[in-house]
């Protein structure tokens, strides 16, 4: 039986006098993949930022591990207007040896030649893999991803999720992930937290992602069709 790695109790977050998250409580077990679902403005990014202590909150957030890596949504990562700096120089910020960087680049499927390129010269997919490699350098126990496939095409999106799934299995990680893609939820999540300012549902995807619950979360009729191929 896995131990609890994150315990959230009565979490309340307000930004500029607006209540973003109301009285949220849940637990995450070690090696779980928890996907956080919800419409725009539901408080998903705010939740991850509060869990990391990046913004003030009320309530209790208790992590069992302190080794947590966080990847914000890609639109919050700047790639332009930087001094001329190669990816290799960027990774030197981490103060780790080249061998480790090479190993992680191979693990995430990136060509080592990319280390000599500048930030702006990477494609969106390569950039996303590079950021995943950055998150893995510290050998984290927990990964927090916010809309990891924002701005990349469907094929590349599937590859990124497969990569995350492989990393999760190989490294025994706990993953908290924000996505809008219900396919990803069914394929990769152990648990789902449906959020719309407050907890709308929590549990295993096949049990809780009913049309009624989805309507409650998104405020509109959403149906999910499961096809069986024979």
């Amino acid at each position: 039986m896995s131990e609890t790695i994150l315990k959230v109790k009565n979490l309340n977050v307000g930004l500029e006098k607006e209540e973003i998250i109301k009285d949220l409580s849940f637990e995450v077990k070690e090696r779980d993949v928890l996907i956080i679902l919800g419409p725009n403005g539901a408080g998903k990014t705010t939740l991850l930022r509060a869990l990391l202590g990046l913004i003030p909150y009320e309530g209790e957030v208790v992590w069992k591990s302190k080794n947590i890596s966080y990847l914000p949504p890609q639109e919050l990562v700047q790639r332009k207007y930087l001094p001329p700096m190669t990816i290799e120089e960027f990774f030197k910020f981490k103060n780790v040896g080249e061998e480790k960087i090479f190993k992680i680049f191979k693990e995430v499927g990136l060509d080592l030649l990319l280390l000599k390129r500048s930030f702006g010269a990477l494609s969106t997919g390569q950039f996303q893999r590079m950021i995943i490699a950055w998150a893995l350098v510290d050998e984290p126990d927990v990964l927090l991803f916010d809309e990891v496939t924002y701005g990349i095409d469907a094929g590349a999106e599937e590859t990124i999720y497969s990569l995350l799934h492989r990393i999760w299995k190989q490294r025994n990680l706990t993953v908290l992930l924000i996505t809008h893609d219900l396919n990803v939820v069914y394929e990769h999540a152990n648990n789902v937290l449906c959020l719309n300012k407050e907890k709308m549902c929590y549990g295993e995807p096949f049990e809780i992602l009913t049309p009624e619950n989805l309507e409650k979360v998104y405020g509109t009729g959403i149906k999910f069709y499961k096809h069986t191929h024979k």
Partner: protein
Amino acid sequence: MEIILALIMGSFIGAAAGYLGTLMLSKRMSLVAGPLGHLTLPGIALAFLFGFDVSLGAFVIVTLGIALIWWLEIKTKLPMEALTAIVFAVGVAVTFLFLPEEKTIPALIGDVSQISPIVVTISVLLSLLVIFAINRIYKKIILAEISEDIAKSEGVNIKKYNFIYLLCIAIIVSLGAKVVGGADDGGSCGNSGVYE
């Protein structure tokens, strides 16, 4: 001799300004640097009026100006360029209310005849200090420019490093006021950064 001293002083200030300027690029402050330089003018004018060191006057006023811009940015959420323009215009207007007419030229373009070996020594030491300080915080500031959230989640105190950075700008702009005057001063940081 004055020219040699000015060249030594200018070289060290220029080196520090260039290093600061590379970060101005990523902070999108390159065009803000020029108006910041003009903020030295009220300080220079006060120094001329009351007979104290030009760089000291410039440093106090630039630091106050930067603090005001920083505070207004938090309060109003307006872009830094717009706020700098407001503070810069007020600074220049106030200067010409009380700057003696005969001091206008040295205030605008500097006066190398005022440079002594002690001033050069202090300027060189302060420039080296700024280069050293920026070197220590460079990676952290770049990481914060790439993503504030990533930087914060890795324990980088962004406010502290931004404050140190702005203080370094204030020091270099104030030192530069002695050599090139208020009209041409801060632009050296922004321009050097762009050239680099």
